[in-house]
């Protein structure tokens, strides 16, 4: 019996068990939210991968000793400065 049929039938037989609908969505649609949900993934990991949430990436990297080049650090600093500048600009423009 094909996998998609088995998943469909289990979802039909156990409608209150969300794992089966998530597993079906994960297999058939490759739905990333379902894949993370049924894997009981860490919330920061989910946000980092699915939402590209930079705060979550930093939280996942917390305590890690930084390596890399000065150029990379510079890019990150410029990015941070640009973000702060943009936030200030938006705040001022609202006032």
């Amino acid at each position: 019996m094909e996998t998609y049929k088995i998943l469909d039938r289990f979802e039909l037989m156990y409608p209150t068990n969300e794992n089966f609908s998530d597993l079906r969505r994960a297999y058939i649609d490759r739905d990333m939210y379902s894949i993370f949900k049924i894997s009981n993934a860490d919330e920061e990991l989910r946000k980092a991968v699915l939402e590209k949430n930079i705060h979550s990436i930093f939280r996942l990297a917390e305590g890690t000793k930084i390596v890399g080049t000065v150029d990379d650090l510079k890019k990150q600093c410029w990015n941070k400065i640009f973000t702060v500048y943009l936030d200030c600009y938006l705040l001022v423009s609202k006032i």
């Binding site: 597993l23 894949i35 993934a41 990297a61 890690t64 650090l73 990150q76």
Partner: protein, 272 residues
Amino acid sequence: MLEQNLYSLFRLLPPSFEDLKKAVCEDNIHSIFRLLENDNLRKLIVNDNQWALYPLLKEYKNTNFVEALKYMFIEEIKFDEDCLSRGQLQSKIWLVQELEKISLDLGVVFLCAGWYGTLATMLFESKLSVGKIRSFDIDEQTETIAEIFNKPWVIDDWKFKPVVQDIHDINFEEHSYVVSKDNGEFEVLWDVPDTIINTSCEHIENFADWYAKIPKGKLVVLQCNNYEEIEEHVNTHNSVESFASQTPMETELYNGELDLQHYKRFMRIGFK
């Protein structure tokens, strides 16, 4: 620009963050699964490996359907998959749900034209009180698969046993019947049924004769349909009222119909 900066951020991190980088920046499915540490899910989704499906199903639900399907997959046992079609399952789920509402002790159940005994699996795994189930079917090909679907209850002192027999030959007062054993030998059993279930009434030739053999006072659960396109459907009905006129009961506990898109299924539960 954001992506470029994410790359530069990850270049600041040690190599152990390589998978996270690939997952975040490239949506790399292999890296994502390494981070999730869910090997069975990875094998199922990335490699379409059905071997990995069964541990996942088992993790989510303790049902013998998982073990049975896994066993038949491994042993390459062919069976008619229509036994697990949406219509078949919906009909049986409906039956179990209505019986659970009535909440009766089913005692010794004679499942007539029981096919692969999937209904027996569902009854055993429901909230219902079931003594034992004997599944009668004229097709000897159904016997092995019925035992696979109900293996835990076969092992448990034969709480389930399939019987190859024409349901017209059942004595519903008290019945002696022959079952096959693991070693190929046969054994004669004897039982008095408390509950008689037939979910294939549309298939039964001379239905009136069969129904007449059921003694008064027995709990009966009957299903029929209006699907006339199939040649083997020799006893279809167009309404539950029509079905009721063929299956009189002293005490009616449930009458209903279920719309299954291409056809309707009717069900009657009561004491004959």
